[in-house]
């Protein structure tokens, strides 16, 4: 029996929820609004801001002054590069743990997770030294590897929980029919695992895109992704609200959209499968 919900109660819920939702979202909305305002208008009172004219010039200026596209491109390379590299290493590992589990599988999984909990600042100087020694400071290659390593445990975990949901009987049946290990993975497992792998990719691109410790400390001008580029706005000279807003809008828009698509996977990925 469904609970009878009065329209009145539903209306009250709707009003309260929308009010709170808009309040939480407001800072993001405000960034987007200011990014379309002239620099002189952006610092006025909120009402004056809303009634002033709209402009696209900030987006052009941000690109001209600081080669925004380069940093955007760096972010894309770091986020997707580290995710793809991580996937290549994690898929075989997660496959073997899900389908050929041994006594030690659980311990290995938990140990992998524990590497994620190392505070980055504790190994900052060693990483700095290693990067200098290998000539990796301010290179995209170095950061792709580091971002891959910090997210590898999450990739393995997510894939593992998805793989475990695939019934083992199907794999056995294909083996009975004489499929080799390679064929089994390529033609039987992969098609079934694609949704899970897609969500894993989505979540890890988001995490890598927003990573703001190693990207701030191991890059300078050349390999800096958007996180580090935006941080360079922290010492303002003169009027800059509108430009900061334009740069920020472009930096968060792609991930905001991806994030909304990955809500459910987010819960599973970030709680290591403990909440589904």
């Amino acid at each position: 029996m469904a609970r009878a919900v009065t329209t009145q109660r539903k209306t009250i819920n709707t009003i309260i929820a929308w009010a709170i939702g808009l309040l939480i979202f407001f800072p993001i909305l405000w960034i987007i609004i200011l990014s379309f305002k002239a620099e002189g208008d952006a610092i006025k009172t909120p009402i004056a801001v809303l009634t002033s004219g709209w402009t696209l010039e900030n987006y052009g200026v941000v690109q001209e002054r600081s080669d925004y596209a380069k940093h955007f491109f760096n972010s894309v390379i770091l986020a997707f590069g580290s995710t793809i590299l991580g996937l290549i290493i994690a898929v075989p590992a997660a496959w073997s743990m899900a389908f050929v589990p041994s006594k030690r599988t659980k311990d290995i999984l938990l140990w992998m997770l524990s590497t994620k909990m190392l505070p980055a600042v504790g190994v900052l100087y060693p990483m700095y030294l290693i990067f200098i020694e290998l000539g990796l400071l301010d290179t995209r290659v170095g950061l792709v590897v580091v971002l891959m390593l910090i997210n590898l445990p999450i990739i393995v975990w997510m894939l593992y929980t998805y793989f475990r949901e695939i019934p083992g009987e199907i794999l056995e049946a294909s083996r009975m029919d004489g499929a080799s290990l390679r064929e089994e993975i390529l033609y039987v497992l992969t098609p079934m695992a694609i949704p899970g792998m897609a969500s894993t990719v989505l979540l890890n691109v988001i995490l890598a895109w927003n990573e703001a410790f190693w990207t701030l400390n191991l890059t300078a001008a050349k390999a800096a992704p958007l996180t580090a580029f935006i941080a360079s706005y922290s010492s303002p000279e003169g009027l800059f609200y509108a430009k900061l807003s334009a740069a920020s809008t472009m930096a968060i828009a792609p991930i905001l959209i991806m994030g909304w698509f990955s809500q459910k996977q987010l819960v599973r990925g970030l709680t290591f499968g403990a909440v589904k």
């Binding site: 290493i89 590992a93 290995i108 980055a120 935006i230």
Partner: protein
């Protein structure tokens, strides 16, 4: 079921991930441990090549006895504690609200979780300038509209401001996970309690809260691990000034700003131990879940 052949194949397939993570964990960690027992001041010519002086536990003692150590511990606890209380309490309330029937539920959910996807440097800088700036910030305009003097948020109420910014970033996480947990609650149980005349508060206390207990624990543990190491939010707002220097930030300053690697590494070891204490509890819960 598994043959000898597939077992060795499995081990082979696991090797790259295991070896990489082992290296990632052991190499920098043992270097930090090594440096923490050495006098290592790169600006004064100390380098690995010239050999470093062994100083025993000096760095550990000096890190703890420095005048900035205890304030940084207290700052860390206040930030982590403050953010946890705000996000968990509001997260529970929001999750219950979003679980109610309403129009446009999906859209509201999207609005609420959006801040989680904003990169830390953007949210910190935007809050600092667009909202908390005492001259032209949004809040300053609102204060002036009501005839009040704008607050210099990041210098006069620096800790509260940072807690606010970080809470805004993490509230969506708590809400989303608690909402997922609440949706698995059997609604018939609640209806039965309602019909028996249980008031709303006791329904919450005896049915909803116990059901959420595990999810709340997980939210607290995961957030604690991430909050212990927040960096960008402080880096771009106050740079550790005005009493916002956390343990993480103190270590960062020791290592990279004042280039006292030995001292910073000893601090790093403390931070690692602290994080591991939290991690052990999280592992227990996740591990139990694996068996189920």
């Amino acid at each position: 079921m598994a043959t000898q052949h597939s077992r060795s194949a499995a081990r082979f397939m696991m090797a790259p991930a295991v070896v990489l993570l082992l290296g990632w964990m052991l190499i920098p960690l043992s270097m930090t441990l090594f440096f923490s027992f050495k006098k290592y001041l790169p600006l004064r010519g100390d380098s690995l090549g010239n050999g470093l002086d062994w100083v025993g536990f000096d760095n550990y003692v000096r890190f703890v006895s420095s005048s900035s150590f205890w304030p940084s511990v207290i700052t860390t606890l206040l930030i982590v504690g403050g953010v946890l209380i705000i996000t968990v309490v509001l997260g529970i309330l929001l999750a219950i609200l979003l679980d109610q029937p309403m129009w446009g539920q999906g859209v509201v959910r999207i609005l609420v979780i959006a801040p989680f996807f904003v990169m830390p440097t953007v949210s910190a800088l935007v809050w600092k300038n667009l909202f908390m700036d005492p001259g032209n910030g949004f809040l300053a305009h609102v204060y002036r509209f009501f005839g009040a003097t704008p607050v210099e948020w990041l210098s006069q109420a620096s800790l509260q401001s940072i807690i606010m910014i970080v809470s805004w970033q993490w509230l969506p996480f708590a809400t989303l996970i608690l909402l997922t947990a609440i949706q698995s609650l059997d609604s018939e149980q609640l209806e039965a309690a309602e019909m028996d005349g249980a008031p709303i508060l006791s329904r919450f206390y005896h049915i909803v809260l116990p059901h959420l207990a595990r999810a709340i624990t997980i939210v607290i543990l995961i957030q604690t691990i991430f909050l212990l190491s927040i960096f960008a939010e402080i880096f771009v707002t106050t740079g550790g000034a005005f009493g916002t220097r956390t343990l993480t930030y103190l270590i960062y300053q020791r290592v990279l700003e004042s280039q006292n690697v030995g001292l910073g590494s000893a601090g790093g070891v403390y931070a690692i131990i602290l994080a591991n204490i939290v991690a052990i509890f999280l592992m227990r819960i996740v591990g139990k879940n694996l068996d189920a």
